[in-house]
Amino acid sequence: MRLDVEEKVLSENDKLARGLRERYRQHKVFCVNLISSPGSGKTALLERTLEALPKTTKVAVLTGDLQTENDARRLAKAGFPVKQITTGGTCHLDASMVIKALDDWDLDAIDLLFVENVGNLVCPTSYDLGEHAKIVLLSVTEGEDKPLKYPSIFAVAELCIINKLDLLPYVPFDLAQAIANARQVHPGMEVVETSCTKVQGLDAWLAWIERRRKKAIL
């Protein structure tokens, strides 16, 4: 006997993500999901971002890792609400983990929510967290062919941040080719170039957030 079903394998997660998206809409929260390999500089970018934002900004961060509270400790220094999600062994965040982490937070006190995913360029691609935009980070020490090797995340992310630009003189990384590769898998993809040790490109990144936030929160 054949039973036709045609449903999404991750429909449970998608359902929870839709619930999150609706809550973000009601409470006017703009949420982005930062994804990269381990060590591309997601936490460093968030550190610089939090430092650059006015203290009156209603910003909060959820940061995911398999183990340790290290990232949350680093990010909490800026004085904004930060919560660590430790996944145990899981290689990605899913919507249920985000819901649990937001449980005791008042969403009316948040305008901008950063979700720093587990360092992994593959698995987080499949899991909708209710975010307005996925953002992929690529650092210049990784090689310009990353978008071609991991096309899925570059295809679904709205913005590509190329980080560690200060190291460009020391590594054989072809920046123009990296951007061309990103745009090959994602036609017209927006790209921002940053350095978090020399604090470079942050204005363009903050401007992108503001522009995208206005588009999301009508």
Binding site: M1, L3, A155, V156, P187
Partner: protein, 118 residues
């Protein structure tokens, strides 16, 4: 290796389908996987095999339909596939396009043996 959690989700559905049909054994599952779904078919098959061992779902056959990625040009609405280094629209050369297929990760059907007599 998120294929393991995806395999678990598929097996849960197979088990539910079996329960809804008087405990009939599920022998085959049809899946549709897009080219940029981020799911490796071999790893998924391994996950299904490992998780179903010594359960009623052991031996479950996977029938996987792979879907190509398709784009729709934002300027002229032509639909096209990205081929090699050519990512712009082959009709109007437009650089902006949106992905309209290739992200699928769907259970399409189950095949069940006849239900055991009650």
């Amino acid at each position: 290796m998120h294929e393991l959690s995806i395999a678990a989700a598929i097996l849960e559905r197979a088990q539910a389908a079996s329960q809804r049909n008087g405990g009939a054994r599920v022998t085959k599952v049809g899946l549709r996987i897009g080219a940029i779904a981020g799911v490796e078919a071999d790893a998924l098959a391994f996950g299904i095999e490992a998780l179903s061992l010594h359960t009623p779902l052991q031996g479950l056959v996977l029938e996987i339909e792979l879907c190509k990625r398709k784009q729709r040009c934002s300027a002229c609405a032509a639909e096209f596939e990205i081929k090699g280094a050519q990512a712009s629209c082959p009709t109007c050369n437009g650089e902006q396009s949106e992905c309209i297929a290739g992200k699928e990760l769907d259970v399409m059907f189950f095949e069940l043996e006849d239900a055991p007599c009650a």
